[in-house]
Symmetry: D2
Subunit: 384 residues, 4 copies
């Protein structure tokens, strides 16, 4: 006879079912697959989170038991009844003369569990993932080494958490406040821009919040939302290479690239953008240095001499001031600043900020119970 | 002869090209398609943003001109040369005796442009989209009626902007501060959870920030990130229906649903979660009422009598306190609160918060220059 | 008195509600907002599809009616009762001596509906979208001009539909059959690759099919799934520039780029990949020319002289043969082929093909009722 | 002295760097971290695919070497120079009298590598993922046990691959041909529907193919693309419960649900949809039973008696015939069919099919070089 105590995730049970069905196993089989051993794996038992999971495991174990039973195995109704089932089957075989009891032997060594083998130093397993920004293994998660409760206790703000998780250091409060201001200024720009539009269309298709948000986020890139990042990149390059505003603007013109961060639909040299003025005021009051912003202002002076609407806009102000934040804080090496600009952290700032607006638009359409959107035929040129 | 002054987006040019090719038009055609009339459409000329677009338009106009030329039309090299080309072609036809000039006639009325027709009240067009949360048509965007510069000037925080864009009202500062604390507490939970994991895998596939973020966000739902929303929903339902903690917990048990917001991997009744205590302290100090939270605490008292790890966790604390925020502020009707809970605003809070962490993980992997991830074969059970 | 017959989507009703609330309108108001006029808009009445929508519209109309009623207007219970309500209110006012009936006057011209104004040539509206591949305005949709029923009737296959919608022409059957073979070969590559892995994680988070599929698709890019596209691009460039295999391979080596499409984990020069042989056989039998493939084979001959596993693999075979398909069919200009390679049609082929596998993995995990995935802590290196 | 031969992914090197920096290690350190040992891990060495990866690994190894060097370790320029560097450092220490050579000792047992430990049966590791549909571990991938080359050799079509990966069995050719017809019929429905619209907007934002496709896919759900699935579900439920067409339709009416699969914008009882007729012809010719379709036709007969446009449409035909495919093939148990309908395989069919169209729209917009889309302000009702 064969006695099987099955585990979740093990390989053997289904092979056995197969073998039973194909008649390859002729001996009586007494089997039990338990869902409760999940208890042994520490990483998967968070009460609360784990509801759906445990349900899945139970069903998985039940499915195995059922499959074994269907294939002809003796399967008790509970683990408690397992021993009795084994004994009963065994004694029946003895009684029928099919087997003769032999003396007990010392069992072979069973394979050791991976985690204990690692702990005892017998085995080492290479890790497949490296991570440096946060750690959830202790009593409470840490962001860049700072425990979450300490973040609350110290009265930190959203900008401080961004500082820890993105920059891996605790920037001074004027820096993190500036990050918060940027998020507020970029949080939304009406329902007509690509991002909000796609989010609205998806929400109106009756889809969930995440799908609606995501459908809009995917439009963020070179043409939508990229101006802040571009402004930072170009201003940095021009300033670091020592170009005069004249050289910079004319060089861009020659390449056929509009200067990002310059120009406004309504605002003029004699009707400045209040938001830009507020950002400049904040930086002049708090930043140790605003050299990149001053450079952007000089560029603006030159472009205004060419057309009255070529003012420094919000994108340009944020882009240049972010460079001042990085350089002025004294907490980053030159190489780190280059890396931050290259990876595109400012794009991350825009993406996070605009998520607030996109989630808002989703809620808005759901509140308004708007129906499925269909673009009007009349607005499409069907051609070849 | 035929004179054509083409526009971006018009239907006619390609029909003409077709007709010329098929020999349906035999008269000489003088044509010019201009990309510069884009200037006339106010909504599409934001300097800076519009770089890529205008480039596209120029090419579109050029493509039309090329197509017309290829089909045999006379196409000048610039708009300025258009008049001369018309005159030349006309005079050539007169000279060849193919046409005889006639007296000028008053031209037929041309169709009016839609926008001017709407303004003059002659035509009305139904709008296809309704939006209520933000407006970008003026000098600067407004969130729920509040101009962006005013938001900066008043020293608002990220929570205040969320209040305006999601709740369409200016909640008191203790409410928006509470929202900010929730965002900070939910910003990340390490690299092993579904969301961070998928984001890491996508970033390691060399994909851009938005794709990496989005791949992780899509795992947020019933099993990952849903506990706060569930806690709010169940606690609200139980409290509003007047269930005692005993009735609530036993009722959930009977339905086979674990109580969301209760239970912790490490924390115990005699080793409480500091974050929960901080949230409770904040609320007791600032909220006019914490009736839902007190209810959650009573539930915890009962569950602790059953097992020592069944403590109120962060999810449960946030979920119940958010109900107190809504009810206690006095700024929402009962119906509005029901709608907010039904639509799932708390899920929005989690999604926004966790975006900070997911963006952080993307930056982290890019900084670490991690290669393509491939799940190890050894960790997969291949079965039938 | 004021009589209002409201429409879905109109601007006026909510302004009126506002005015009533603010006491700006003191006259009695009789109002009705009808959801049934939706019938008039041809584009939104597809029975079947429109269920959810009409529901939304009804609620929208009802919401307006309710808002008007709440603001003090007289709102009947149905459109049929509208006339009576007007009459009743009017007569009540006459009776109360508040108004005196006057003689009927000819009403002012009301604004014309946009669509009829366009039809009658009075107004023209620029279209905002151009589309060329399919048209759904007639009795049945057309793909590149071919009606869908004709596609079925002619016994077309999936490759033929791709030919129409992507290439806008009806390629010969041997081409579309080749496209189908590529799709079949790329449909899946096991559960361990980035795409399948993320799809599996998302499906196990209990998310819907589209979210699961999408989370996996987002990993497709330069490092995962990009080899076919790269192979086509590099082979085309090398062949078109007339490089010998030696020059090509050594040039790539100098640049530090591995030759895409060359190399296999198991296959060797003396144990060729059967799939590659089948593709080559198909192409040699059916394609008028296989010059790019022959070039790839010459490259393989050279790389095999360096290492025995540097065989032409499936990616390289598909990439080079796709170039032969385009060039050999005689249906594309050189410029069109360049555009197709530049836009990345082969990436589209991979994305479409792998969607079959990703959807399969989603179904698989749902069938298996797998619980929430959490990456094991032990597999992560937490560092700084 | 300390000699370190580092590995990719190991924990030790960075700890050492840290220790060196903190002065905790004072002995001379000779170190080398090699990127080439990646060769040892079989799962990560596919030449071709692995280009980007290996690059990443090299950089990772180089980064470690650099960090060690910066921290003061002796790091040679290549592995070949490692031995010499050890010897040199050692001899220098001997020379300086800082160390005295001792006799060789037998080294302690080092931890065994996980994979070899598993193979030798010493350790067992639980698998975290179960997968049943495809296997990529052998010489070539297998779909449901069928090797890819065999799929090509047998002249299989796309429908057959879907059959293997979704249904895990080889359905008869008339079934897989029917699946292909459904894909062709659902491949596109013009640029105005939610999915195509969002894809077009994202492509026009300059985003890549996958982002554009995905942004459109996310609109597929209850209101867009859900009719086929709904038709199958409702027809199955009604037929299996034995409802007469009259009972079914009136029951739906009572619940306020429109019958999915019934109704057409243009088609009428006396102008039937040719596509539906072709599907019916195919099924009547090839299917062993069309009982569900006949039921749908009876429902249509009843609805046509109420209104002339309430014809069976393509969604209804596909939905009902798919049930006939499952039931008629005799290859599924009743329970399996219920599971297939519950999981929503038909939705998968629509999603896959429409991906063809969405990819086509992306290519179309890129070919047309369309600029950033911005929804016209005039089409939005800004309200409160």
């Amino acid at each position: 006879m064969m006695v099987v105590l099955g585990e979740l995730g093990g390989r053997d049970e289904y092979s056995l079912v197969e073998a039973l069905k194909q008649g390859k196993v002729n001996k009586p089989v007494v089997a039990w697959v338990s869902g409760t051993c999940a208890r042994l794996f520490k990483s998967e038992v968070q009460f609360g989170h784990a509801g759906a999971k445990s349900g899945g495991e139970m069903e998985s174990a039940q499915a195995k038991n059922q499959a074994l039973k269907d294939a002809g195995a003796v399967v008790p109704t509970s683990y408690e009844a397992f021993e009795a089932a084994i004994k009963e089957t065994f004694e029946k075989l003895v009684e029928e003369g099919k087997i003769t009891p032999i003396k007990e032997v010392k069992p072979l060594q069973i394979p050791e569990d991976l985690n204990s083998a690692i702990k005892s130093g017998k085995v080492r397993a290479p890790t497949h993932i490296i991570s440096t920004i946060s750690d959830d293994r202790g009593e409470e998660p840490c962001y860049a080494g700072v425990p979450m409760s300490s973040i609350v206790e110290q009265g930190f703000g959203v900008g401080d958490v961004i500082s820890l998780l993105w920059f891996k250091r605790s920037l001074p409060r004027y820096c993190t406040k500036f990050i918060e201001i940027c998020i507020m200024l970029c949080a939304d720009h009406g329902p007509c821009v690509s991002g909000a539009h796609n989010t609205i269309v998806t929400a109106r298709a009756g889809k969930d919040l995440v799908s609606s948000l995501v459908s809009g986020l995917l439009t963020i890139g070179p043409r939508f939302g990229g101006a802040i990042d571009d402004a930072a990149r170009y201003f940095k390059d021009a300033y670091d290479r020592g170009l005069t505003p004249y050289e910079f603007v004319e060089d861009m013109k020659k390449k056929g690239i509009r200067v990002p961060g310059i120009g406004h639909r309504i605002k003029r040299g004699d009707n400045r953008d209040k938001r830009v003025e507020l950002l400049q005021l904040f930086a002049r009051t708090n930043f140790p240095s605003v050299k990149y912003m001053e450079y952007a202002v000089q560029v603006e002076t030159y472009t205004l001499s060419k057309a009255n609407n070529l003012v420094l806009n919000v994108d340009g102000a944020i882009g240049s001031l972010f460079l001042d934040l990085l350089a002025g804080s004294g907490m980053f090496t030159k190489q780190e600043i280059d890396e931050i600009v290259e990876i595109g952290y400012l794009n991350g700032l825009f993406v996070l900020a605009r998520s607030i607006g996109l989630i808002g638009h989703t809620f808005d359409q759901k509140r308004l119970k708007q129906p499925l959107y269909r673009h009007p035929w009349e607005d499409v040129l069907y051609t070849k």
